[in-house]
């Protein structure tokens, strides 16, 4: 005997990972779409007339995000303009397929697409970076460069907002990682649904409360075309432990993911705890807690042929780089910060 759908009483075909309820396909779509709409309207993520760059990697999160934003924008008349924005890191074989997926999505969803490459933005592809520094720290580069790449790309598109595909599992993992790492400043910021102000565009996460498993399920039943883009460089061991822990938590109590986000949202920082002052990079103007942002520091390391010096704590790598440039080529210092700024801004 088929199980009855919890919502309509018809035959159920799946169990919602988030609630454990048995539901039919239509009711699942209904719940999934309404929940995302609720997140968007309740969190005031968009205003009529917004030009929203949707970070599109070809992966499941961003594919579902693009699809559902297009759908909800039409259904509920948000009155926003959507543009797909893809970043090409320049990793041979890694992006080729996923960029193809994004290009197909562009036609399927009838949304404009812009691809920006690391090479355009920074003068370096990830392949070239890996050649210089080996496999060990490339995720640092990739992550730091990506953060800015979306901003820079979106500004090129004259978008005033960025929507990213971060899902509930991502947020819960970040809360956990920041507690384990003792990163109190990020811990406070990481659960915000919209982030970024000066220097960068506001970023929002419409899938913040959506379970990764439900995203896969939605894509599967909607037959959405996505490319499985697990980064070919696996995350470090520590993050791997945290991720496994989170998956196991979900198995024991499915609401754990939302509960962890709730925990993150209700944390307050003691008033007497020193917080890094958030300023902007003197070279590129991007938001940064140091005078020169991490991307510019990494880039300087690469350009000077000393990429390893740039990895690690910002202050320390700054000192090392400064020391290195004084001894090796003082000519480099002639480039004033103002001029340098041109290198990385459009």
């Amino acid at each position: 005997m088929p199980v009855a759908c919890r919502m309509c009483g018809g035959p159920a075909v799946l169990k919602r990972p988030k609630t454990g309820d048995a539901v039919c396909k239509d009711c699942f779509f209904y719940a999934f779409e309404n929940e995302v709409n609720y997140t968007i309207t309740n969190g005031n993520l968009f205003k009529r007339g917004d030009r929203v760059a949707v970070g599109a990697s070809g992966g499941k999160d961003s594919t579902v995000l693009a699809y559902i934003l297009k759908l909800l924008n039409e259904r509920h008349d948000y009155g926003i303009e959507l543009i797909l924005l893809s970043v090409d890191e320049g990793i041979t074989g890694y992006r080729d397929d996923s960029l193809e997926t994004v290009k197909r999505n562009q036609h399927q969803y009838d949304l404009p697409l812009k691809i920006v490459s690391y090479e355009d933005l920074y003068g370096w592809t990830m392949d070239a970076i890996v050649k210089q520094i080996g496999l060990k720290n490339n995720c640092t580069f990739c992550g730091v460069f990506r953060r800015q790449a979306l901003d820079r790309g979106a500004m090129l598109l004259k978008a005033n907002k960025i929507a990213t595909g971060h899902n509930a599992d991502d947020i819960a993992e970040t809360v956990l990682m920041n507690v384990l790492r003792g990163d109190i400043a990020r811990l406070r910021r990481c659960t915000a649904i919209t982030t970024g102000a000066e220097g960068g565009l506001p970023r929002c996460k419409p899938l913040k409360y959506t379970y990764e498993k439900e995203i896969v399920m939605y894509a599967y039943f909607k037959k959405l075309d996505y490319f499985s883009t697990e980064c070919i460089y696996s995350p470090n061991a520590y993050r791997g432990h945290a991720r496994t822990y989170l998956k196991d938590l979900e198995r024991i109590r499915p609401s754990s993911i939302i509960d962890l986000i709730h925990s993150g949202e209700s944390l307050s920082i003691k008033k007497d705890v020193k917080m890094p002052v958030q300023g902007t990079c003197t070279r590129c103007g991007y938001i940064s807690s140091n005078a020169i942002c991490k991307a510019c520091t990494l880039l300087e390391g690469l350009n000077k042929g000393l990429p390893k010096l740039a990895i690690g704590k910002s202050n320390k790598s700054r000192r090392l780089l400064d020391a290195a440039s004084q001894s090796s080529d003082s000519t480099n210092e002639k480039t004033s910060p103002k001029e340098k700024k041109k290198d990385v801004t459009f």
């Binding site: 995720c139 992550g143 507690v179 470090n236 432990h241 109590r253 609401s255 209700s266």
Partner: protein, 470 residues
């Protein structure tokens, strides 16, 4: 997508090899142990360091007043044996170093949660009682099911002053058996081990605070190690208890008005405690718990314990980092005084102020289910619950109405819960089939809170801003 969003995604890996051939950092004798991250000590200096650090926590915080009565919660484990040992030693020493409070010691008997061999259990209890007697402090044993009591919980005096009579709140066996039965029923109606463990923990704490108050103690001392507290912190994050994680691990925890909690063992990792215990030849008593022998994935607590131990052995800074993070957190100070207190854990009940929140999102998800109730209420089995409640009429005879059989018939709805319980406890309650089986003291608090809310609603128009009576 590549998930690396952080710039410093690197955890320093500390060197934790045993310092073979190293000499003690204090006296240059050959070192036998490594404490903290990598400080080599000989046994004597290690014991001196350990003792000093234990006492320093009291000095630093000034949390314990001169002559204050402090109740030591003793579990028989390594950590509480060490704690009891150190308190005893401290009192025996000269005046200038003397711990100036008046300790008592209590053991909570949780046998009702287990199916245990009678002989085995008797052997354990004998060992526990030996510890209690040898402490030379007033010592008590209390059964966890006493939390179901409708009047003052009963306990057994093992040694010490007899000034409090009526040691046994009811004194007759039928009552005790009824409470045992009620407690068992509560656990049987709880569907997950995670929630069973949490219920036991929260009710144990409630009972201890109750008995401490009754006996005139103003503080309870717990023996949780730093390792244990880091585990509790992470577990509570995962259970939605984020707002109060800083209190769960602090030296002084003042939730609840009358009785505060102190945790002097938080300075040490479980490894350091085991070393000390071993060196002092202490004999801990192994008491099985409800999760003993359970698998890693049996509950959030068993999983989190495994997670923290795994991390700690690879990255020995884990426990300290987690506790440091916790120490920087606090409750939302602006609203905390204005909110209700959770009837189970005494944390502030979440305000629904933020429109965009996990809590609102969850509620929305639930509202999409057309077929209604999130929490199944008593309607399924009202008879059984009433029977137990009515079965015994014996009562301490308090005349203020606190002893009336708390209205078991009034159904608890999910709406009631959202007013009187914090987010985390509400999550927990999803696993409890019949809320009416909760202890009377909890149900009475729920009703009291409801009545106060109704009263407030009635007089609302006449209250001036800033009136924050919960």
């Amino acid at each position: 997508m590549c998930q690396i969003t952080s710039q410093n995604d690197v955890i320093p890996k500390e060197d934790c090899r045993l310092s073979i051939g190293k000499s003690c950092m204090k006296c240059q004798e050959p070192a036998t142990v490594v404490a903290r991250l990598h400080d080599p000590f000989c046994s004597n200096c290690f014991q001196a360091y350990f003792t000093h650090r234990f006492r320093a926590t009291f000095g630093k915080s000034k949390a314990v007043r001169n002559g204050e009565k402090v109740l030591i919660a003793f579990s028989g484990g390594h950590s509480s044996c060490v704690m009891l040992h150190l308190v005893k030693e401290g009192l025996a020493e000269g005046v200038h170093k003397k711990l100036r409070y008046q300790p008592g010691v209590i053991y909570v008997d949780e046998n009702v949660c287990l199916e245990q061999d009678e002989e085995e259990r008797n052997a354990q209890m004998r060992k526990i009682e030996t510890w209690l007697k040898e402490s030379t402090f007033p010592a008590y044993v209390i059964c966890i099911e006493e939390v179901m009591s409708k009047c003052n919980p009963g306990y057994r005096l093992i040694s010490g002053d007899q000034s409090h009579d009526a040691e046994d709140g009811h004194g007759n066996l039928p009552t005790e058996n009824a409470m045992k039965e009620e407690f068992k029923q509560l656990l049987e109606n709880t569907s997950s081990l995670t929630t069973k463990e949490d219920l036991i923990q929260k009710l144990r704490l409630k009972l201890l605070k109750q008995i401490a108050k009754q006996l005139g103690y103003t503080k309870i001392m717990f023996g949780d190690s730093g390792t244990r507290l880091a585990t509790v912190l992470l577990g509570n994050l995962a259970k939605g208890h984020g707002e109060t994680v800083h209190q769960d691990m602090s030296f002084l925890d003042t939730r609840g008005e009358e009785v505060a909690i102190i945790r002097p063992m938080r300075e040490f990792t479980s490894k350091e405690i085991a070393l000390f215990s071993h060196q002092c030849c202490l004999q801990p008593v192994f008491i099985p718990r409800i999760s003993t022998k359970a698998s890693r994935l049996a509950s959030i607590d068993t999983l989190t314990e495994d997670f923290v131990n795994g991390l700690q052995s690879n990255f020995p800074a884990t426990v300290t980092t987690v506790l440091k993070t916790g120490a920087k957190l606090t409750s939302d100070e602006e609203t905390v005084g204005k909110r209700h207190t959770c009837v189970l854990c005494q944390s502030p009940v979440d305000s629904s102020s933020s429109a965009s929140s996990a809590s609102a999102a969850t509620q929305y998800s639930m509202s999409l289910r057309k077929s209604g109730t999130v929490y199944s209420s008593s309607s399924s089995e009202p008879e059984a619950a009433c029977e137990v409640a009515r079965d015994d009429a014996s009562c301490c005879g308090e005349g203020d109405g606190s002893c009336q059989s708390a209205k078991k018939n009034e159904e608890l709805t999910s709406a009631d819960l959202s007013v009187v319980m914090c987010y985390g406890c509400r999550v927990m309650m999803r696993d409890v089939k019949s809320l009416d089986r909760l202890p009377n003291s909890v149900l009475a608090d729920v009703q009291r809170q409801k009545r106060r809310d109704e009263m407030r609603l009635e007089i609302e128009d006449f209250l001036l801003d800033g009136s924050e009576e919960g």
